[in-house]
Symmetry: C2
Subunit: 150 residues, 2 copies
DNA sequence: TATTGTTATACTCTATAACTATA
DNA sequence: TATAGTTATAGAGTATAACAATA
């Protein structure tokens, strides 16, 4: 008789358990700063580039332009980003951090650092190095750079 | 000047990238069988126990009873599970697999096996063992058995 | 009163596709 | 026609809390 594999027999299951726990806790932390994880990603990208059109942001974050539109709406409401019209092409506009948004990024980055330390700090140096190495290997060998972050 | 960590500087980020990719592909596979990943988890648990009350299922899957109620509704519509009233305690009822549900579990388990092989097969035996070991260590040391699977 | 389960409501995240304005 | 962006719609996944029935 064939044996049926269980939920816990798959690496994908445990990966999801750990990933969800890490993300869930991080979401709770950034919620204290009034933003979601998806919003944090937008803010962090804008922090480096100063300004970016929504279509580029969609490519960078690997989501649809509709998703970016919605995220941008919320960040505008929260006054963390600004919209600037383009003069050359009136269809386009740029998104950039507001002063408040720029001030918030280091705070959020610190929370991300804390969260990582909290979770992966229980590993030995060897384990942590191995994890990073293996995750990177998976990303490279499976070509996950093009995978959406849903 | 303090340097601000980026999205990709955290293990949590890469964990999320890989986990999302694995789950996304698995979701696509089971969608071909007409179920979602959350529904697969319900079916797989019921496969072993024959029958279970929603409150136990909620504990097992670490979601709220409301979430189980919704999942059960969908699985009933799809005729993959059955509801049976309890005779001792009329507030309770048991959920169990229908014949169709029981037949589907091995098919779904095979898809989970395939998905795992597809993703983690690119790792060497040593890497794969290390990944399993490290994920297990994280679950144990961080006490993630109690974390919800959202 | 406490418990089981359902239902109502709400939110995040995402997608697809129709639509508007501009090129 | 093609492109940039918005909006409408939908659906998965989840939570909280109000509720009904029963214990």
């Amino acid at each position: 008789m064939p044996s049926i594999s269980g939920l816990t027999d798959h690496d994908g299951y445990w990966l999801r358990v750990v990933s969800n726990a890490v993300s869930h806790d991080f979401a709770r932390k950034v919620a204290g700063e009034g933003v979601t994880v998806a919003e944090w990603a937008v803010l962090r990208v804008l922090y480096d580039v100063d300004q970016m059109v929504p279509s580029s942001l969609a490519r960078e974050l690997r989501v649809t332009k509709g998703a970016v539109s919605k995220l941008a709406d919320r960040l505008l409401e929260k006054k963390l980003i600004k919209r600037t019209e383009s003069r050359e092409d009136l269809r386009m506009h740029s998104l950039s951090l507001s002063k408040a948004g720029r001030q918030k990024v280091p705070v959020l980055a610190k929370l991300a650092d804390d969260n990582d330390a909290e979770y992966f700090g229980v590993l030995t140096t060897e384990e942590r190095d191995a994890l990073s190495r293996i995750l990177t290997a998976l990303v490279e060998r499976r070509g996950l750079s093009d995978v959406p972050m849903d």
